[in-house]
């Protein structure tokens, strides 16, 4: 629960990115940078953004996720956003936010399933 920094872990061909509960703008920028750099370095084909700790998602954060998804896709990867909290989903919907072409999963396990199915 006390995660303060972004964590990017490579698991086989997937990058698992865990975002802390209240990410600053700087951290959101960093997320995009790190994901793209790691993607290039490890030649990963899937990215899981675990946002289960995140308790606020505004238009800036949503836009960055949507953009990152597009960039990952240009680098022939696939992005799954996992574990969005119900309150965050309700607010995001009311705010009119979307995650672009990113897939959604209830948790990291299901995100792996989605990626395995799509990438196999």
């Amino acid at each position: 629960m006390f995660l303060k920094t972004l964590s990017v872990v490579k698991i086989k061909n997937v990058l698992l990115v865990t975002v802390p509960d209240d990410p600053s703008d700087k951290m959101v920028y960093e997320l995009q940078e790190q994901v793209l750099r790691s993607l290039e370095k490890h030649r990963s084909t899937g990215v899981i953004l675990d946002i289960s700790l995140v308790n606020v998602m505004d238009s800036f954060f949503a836009r960055t996720i949507a953009e990152t998804t597009q960039m990952v896709s240009l680098m022939s990867g696939m992005t799954v956003v996992a574990g969005m909290q119900p309150n965050v989903a309700i607010t995001a919907t009311e705010l009119g936010l979307t995650l672009g072409t990113a897939f959604s999963a209830l948790d990291v396990d299901q995100a792996f399933e989605i990626l395995n199915k799509a990438l196999s």
Partner: protein, 301 residues
């Protein structure tokens, strides 16, 4: 999103407005302080006399049977009476009055009883003000009018608090009914079902959305079947809420299947220009369930 805020309990800004509405001015506050000596002198007498009066009535005696309780009530009654002429009619005054009203409701004392007490106050105070040596006829009239205003304001607060308390009970019951009419349950590993019965208004859809999303996350269900066979009609706002719900469910990583769209609902949705193109719809819950099981690759014979 849209809370139908109770109009009976005002916020403090509105309390200031309310005083204006009752033509209660700074001058009245000063006037009441002039009456404070009279109040302080006659406080014991007024309250004793009030209780003698009240206790003549059978239905009052039912409420006030315990001597200890009567003693306590008399004390707080005295406090109440003295505060009326204490000169401070700000936030604290307002809050105390509201809380007294709410307490009355909780104790089950009907408004009729304490409304009678106000009338009795006026009766007792009138001669005291008019016969006081310090005031001439014109002053006495002005002071009495002021006293009458604070009585009116106090009555208004007591009634507002009472109505608010009653309203809260009604609302709580309404909420319970709402919760009962949208049971959300897991019918299969990975599938939740939410039959919606009755009219969907803003507040209800709101609650429904929260419950459905929480249930989806708790049970890790990737499919939510929303059956609206029991929804008699739908308006723009509700349709929008329904779309919001579907989008929110998708953000979580789950899919929605809507079942039981009746002709009238289909007509309304199309006329409203609501796009359900990307949403799976099925005529009945059974058909919806079959699709859901197929999606999860669960074999049924």
């Amino acid at each position: 999103m849209n809370y139908s805020n109770s109009n009976y309990i005002t916020v403090f800004e509105q309390w200031e407005d309310q005083k204006k509405f009752f033509c209660f001015t700074e001058k009245d506050a000063e006037n009441l302080q002039k009456l404070h000596t009279i109040s302080a002198q006659s406080c014991d007498e007024v309250v004793e006399s009030l209780y003698d009066h009240l206790l003549q009535f059978e239905d009052v005696r039912i409420f006030l049977s315990n001597p200890e309780m009567i003693k306590r009530l008399k004390e707080s009654q005295k406090q109440y009476f003295l505060e009326m002429t204490a000169g401070d009619y700000g936030e604290a005054y307002y809050e105390k009055r509201i809380n007294i009203g709410i307490t009355h409701k909780r104790l089950g004392i009907p408004p009729r009883l304490y409304m009678g007490a106000y009338s009795y106050y006026v009766q007792l105070m009138l001669p005291k003000i008019y016969n006081h040596v310090d005031f001439d006829q014109k002053q006495a009239q002005e002071l009495f009018l002021t006293f009458f205003k604070i009585i009116n304001l106090d009555q208004e607060l007591a009634i507002s608090a009472y109505v608010h308390a009653v309203e809260s009970v009604v609302m709580q019951q309404a909420e319970e009914i709402i919760a009962m009419s949208t049971p959300i349950m897991q019918i299969w590993d990975g599938i939740v079902v939410a039959p919606v019965i009755g009219t969907l208004d803003g507040q209800r859809t709101q609650q429904f959305m929260e419950q459905l999303l929480n249930q989806i996350v708790e049970t890790k269900s990737t499919i939510a079947l929303i059956d609206i066979t029991g929804v008699p009609q739908i308006d723009t706002a509700t349709a929008q809420h329904l779309i919001d719900t579907i989008n929110a469910v998708r953000l979580l990583g789950s899919n929605v299947i809507i079942t039981g769209i009746r002709p009238i609902i289909a007509q309304t949705l199309v006329h409203l220009g609501i796009n359900l193109k990307e949403i799976i719809t099925k005529p009945s819950m059974g058909a919806g369930l079959k699709v859901a099981l197929d999606m999860l690759s669960i074999k049924t014979s």
